[in-house]
């Protein structure tokens, strides 16, 4: 159950973190 949970959270978390990182990179241009 723990492994399954880890895989599921990674599957949604990695793309989300990638998106957040790219957005922050872009947002830095404002300052």
């Amino acid at each position: 159950m723990k492994t399954r949970g880890l895989i599921l959270w990674l599957a949604v978390g990695i793309p989300l973190l990638w998106g957040v990182f790219r957005t922050l990179q872009n947002a830095m241009k404002l300052f």
Binding site: L8, A11, V12, P15, V20, A27, K29, L30
Partner: protein, 457 residues
């Protein structure tokens, strides 16, 4: 066999199932359909389908392309309202699967429209078919999460609806990367990107289809008991959807959501030109793009933050904060603009956009408090028509008032001031409606057959 896999019965979790395995399923759906917020990345490429590097006669124009997004958002609200009851009956797995099919095939049908250069097929594909996927996908995990987290419904729905905000953060750079990858001398890459995204989003949503589970009817979190004396406005009774939408409470909440969304979506749609015009010569288009990105980020973070906070301070108080703080911030924005402070301007708008997202994420838990869990997904679906109205009202207000001001000779830098004060007025209406919220009268409560009273479930 497929129908048994998709049925509600086959998704009932076994005893001891870890409820924290359910939010990723909801996130998989919302991160996919949240792509709609980044649709504008396709606007310019779609004007160059024939000319490839530049628009040529016969290519679509921006005004025609703008309708794709508008149709999709309008159909989202309609589909959520029309299919809400079916989503409740069919269960989350079947409805997520249908959402995946609609949203994925919407991209594929639109790709065909691009191939043949038939705009009506793109409207039909992404707008209508994709819009149905958006509406069904948006509400499909909501009531499931509320049932898994009766102790923290705000946090649970906030987590899922945060995904809808986060979807744009993924889709915007992903679309650009894919279009650059597929670009050739014969194509600007938008057709191939549509096909690829259709497949990617279908498969990603399938993570949710595969992993979603509903709790058994008698399931409760370990060690949790429903409070004996629930807080004001939190009901332990149930209201059926056919009855709920005839109560004043439904329409008060409809206006609350509509006003909150109108105030945020107008700014979001005009954020880039607005900051460039208010701070003329000081903000470049690249900096403005950074501002838009920051707003999207806070739109996403606000969904989780405010919905989770509402579990502690109550839904009604959370909306009071949105409206009171929103009025304060909107009314000070013109002064901040005159003072020329970019950091203060950015700070004001990221807070406003966090509350815009927070409004979306807190409303399912508010509905659950007022109407109970019986048909919360279907009631939420009907309430989302407020979003469709706000999606038109917000941008129209900002655009038309700005243009009217400029036509009257007001400098561009000051053309947004009146809009900000009108937003304050809208938020005041929302504040009053939220203030008028009272528990649903007993006559509307659902009673099982044989108990008498209203029971159109």
């Amino acid at each position: 066999m497929a129908s048994s896999f998709l049925s509600r019965e086959s998704t009932i979790a076994p005893p001891g199932y870890n409820r924290f395995l359910v939010p990723p399923a909801a996130l998989a759906v919302h991160l996919s359909i949240g792509q709609v917020y980044a649709f504008s990345t396709f606007n310019l490429p779609l004007t160059k389908v024939l000319g490839i590097t530049h628009s040529v006669p016969g290519d679509w124009n921006l005004k025609e392309i703008g309708w794709i997004f508008s149709i999709a958002i309008a159909i989202l609200g309609v589909a959520a309202a029309v299919f809400g009851r079916w989503v409740e009956r069919a269960g989350p797995r079947k409805s997520m699967f249908v959402a995946a099919l609609c949203f994925g095939s919407g991209f594929i049908v639109s790709a065909l429209g691009i191939h043949y250069h038939w705009l009506w097929l793109v409207y039909l594909g992404y707008g209508v078919l994709g819009g149905c996927g958006l509406g069904i996908g948006y509400i499909s995990p909501v009531s499931t999460l509320i049932k898994w987290f009766p102790d923290r419904p705000g946090m649970a729905t906030g987590m899922a609806i945060m995904g809808f905000g986060g979807g744009a953060l993924i889709a915007a750079p992903l679309s650009v990367i894919l279009m650059n990858h597929f670009k050739t001398a014969a194509s600007n890459g938008v057709l191939e990107t549509f096909v690829t995204m259709g497949v990617i989003y279908f498969m990603f949503t399938m993570i949710g289809v595969y992993s979603v589970r509903v709790p058994a009817a008698d399931w409760k979190p370990e060690g949790w008991t429903p409070p004996l004396k629930p807080p004001p406005l939190v009901t332990q009774s149930l209201v059926a959807v056919e009855v709920a939408w005839r109560t004043p409470q439904f329409w008060l909440l409809w206006v609350v959501l509509c006003m909150n969304v109108t105030a945020g979506i107008g700014v979001l749609s005009q954020a880039s030109p607005m900051i460039q015009e208010i701070f003329t010569g000081r903000v470049t288009p690249e900096m403005a793009a950074g501002f838009v990105g920051l707003l999207s980020l806070f739109n996403m973070v606000g969904r989780f933050f405010w919905a989770s906070t509402s579990d502690y301070i109550g839904r009604r108080n959370t909306y009071f904060v949105f409206f009171a703080l929103g009025i304060l911030l909107y009314s000070t924005v013109p002064s901040i603009g005159y003072a020329g402070s970019i950091p203060l301007f950015v700070a004001a708008f990221v807070i406003i956009l966090s509350m815009y997202g927070g409004g979306f994420a807190t409303i399912p838990a508010y509905l659950r408090d007022v109407f109970g869990t019986l048909h919360v997904g279907a009631i939420h679906g009907r309430l989302l028509t407020a979003w469709s109205v706000a999606g038109v009202l917000g941008p129209v207000l900002v655009n038309y008032i700005r243009q009217y001001q400029i036509d009257q000779g007001v400098p561009k830098a000051q053309a947004y001031s009146v809009t900000m004060y009108i937003m304050c007025g809208l938020l005041l209406i929302g504040f009053i409606c939220n203030f008028c919220m009272r528990p649903v009268r007993e006559q509307y409560h659902y009673r099982a057959p044989g108990e008498g009273g209203l029971r159109s479930a």
